[in-house]
Structure formats: structure tokens, C-alpha cells
Symmetry: C2
Subunit: 108 residues, 2 copies
DNA sequence: TTCAATGCATAATAAAATTAGGTATTGTGA
DNA sequence: TCACAATACCTAATTTTATTATGCATTGAA
């Protein structure tokens, strides 16, 4: 595993939660948006994305809904639940705390 | 695994490298120093610490040396190698980049 | 008409964490 | 004195989260 891959461990959930706070999205769209908004930095592979979405739904953070498009291509849209919003707020402040501590350690 | 534990994934190496940049330390001291300097935030368990130190030495980032104390308690001191210093610089900037991107995603 | 892109998914494996144990010495309070 | 906490090293079994590699199906473009 590369250095960059390794340090991204654990950030997948907050990224997804953060994205979905804007609006519901489907899996493929989530991966595209993450890459686009980070200029390619965040690149969540499918083998990680879908299991993570399923796990988060199982945990009650997301709800999903199949939607048919005009072109008959099926998409499963995910949206934050109330619990998902709570967890987003919690995780965001936890990440801030983590980054603050890490910054301090790197600075000294 | 708790939320905090999860997000600390991948940060162990940079923390160790960063600490040892100051001075050589032995394993137990490393864990104590990390906890103390972060007011208890960073708490690297022994089951992670020692295998990590061994792996980093294997990778040529650290060199170690047994030292006997006046009380006959043995300590294995670890010090950064030249390669370890390079890797520290690399990882530090990678972490800065990661945090910058994550901040951006959380802000939007 | 083939091939890239879209869109979902799972399986096998790897890396890094956890908990739980083991060994041994030293310092301390009841 | 003597049990127990702290110091100091280590490994093993397991869990979590990542990777790569698949599979299936539809759509769009060269």
C-alpha cells in the first residue's frame, strides 16, 4: 500500500457523509465528485466505495433508493439520515481535533 | 474500533519519525512521550508500537541499539537513519497535503 | 462493432490496527 | 515483606479498512 493510500484510511466515511450533506447522490457519482472536487486527490475505488455505502446504510447513516433514468440505466441514490447528519458533525469535529494534534506533533 | 482509533490509522509512522527527529528514544519512552506531548490524545498500544518499530527498522528508517541502565533494566534505543529523515520529510508533506484536501472537503 | 465509460456488486488478499497474552525487573505502599 | 503498579520488551489472534481483480449489464462513440 502506498503512503498516500495508507493515510487515507479512515477518511472514506467522512468524505461520503460530507458530500451527501449537499444532496443525495448515487455511488458512481460520489466517486466522480470526490475526485473532481479534490482535483483527483481522493480516488475511492469501487471495491471500497460500495461495501462502505452498504455498511453505512446498515449503520443507519444513509438511506438508499433505486431510481430509473430516462436511459434505463439504474442508479441507487444515497441520502443522509438524521443520524447520518449527527455522525457527520461528530466525525468532522473529531477530524479537526485529530488534525490539530497531528499538526502540533509535526511542528514541534 | 472507535472513531478516534479509526482515523488514527496510518499516523503511527509519522508520529514515531517526528519524535525521533529530536533524539533517540526507546520504545516505552516513545509511547510515553507521544501521550504526554499530545495530552493523552495519541496512545500507541504496545501491540502496535513494537511491530511498527521493527518494521521501520527493517525498512531502513531506524537503527536500534540495546543499552543497559544503571538499574540493569534493558532498553532498546531507536534513532533515525538518513533514510528515516528523508522519509520523515516526505511523509510530513504528504500529511500536510492530505489535511489540506480534507479541510477543503469538509469546508465545502 | 468493438471498446471506453457508466453503474452496480462481490471475492481474495494485504496492511495496520485492536485485544490479549507472555516474560522479566524495579519501585512503592499497606 | 510482599503484593501490585510501573517499567520494558515481545508475539499471536482477530478485526477493520483498504487493495486488486473480478463479474454483469447498459450506453455512447470511434
Amino acid at each position: 500500500m502506498s503512503l498516500r493510500d495508507q493515510m487515507r484510511k479512515g477518511s472514506t466515511e467522512i468524505l461520503i457523509l460530507s458530500l451527501l450533506a449537499d444532496q443525495p447522490m448515487y455511488g458512481y457519482q460520489i466517486s466522480q465528485e470526490l475526485a473532481q472536487r479534490s482535483s483527483g486527490y481522493f480516488d475511492v475505488k469501487e471495491g471500497l466505495l460500495y461495501p462502505t455505502l452498504h455498511r453505512m446504510q446498515q449503520a443507519g447513516l444513509l438511506q438508499s433508493q433505486w431510481q430509473e433514468t430516462e436511459t434505463a440505466r439504474r442508479r441507487k441514490y444515497y441520502a443522509l439520515t438524521a443520524k447520518g447528519r449527527e455522525v457527520l458533525a461528530d466525525q468532522a469535529s473529531e477530524w479537526q481535533e485529530f488534525m490539530r494534534h497531528l499538526q502540533a506533533m509535526l511542528a514541534s
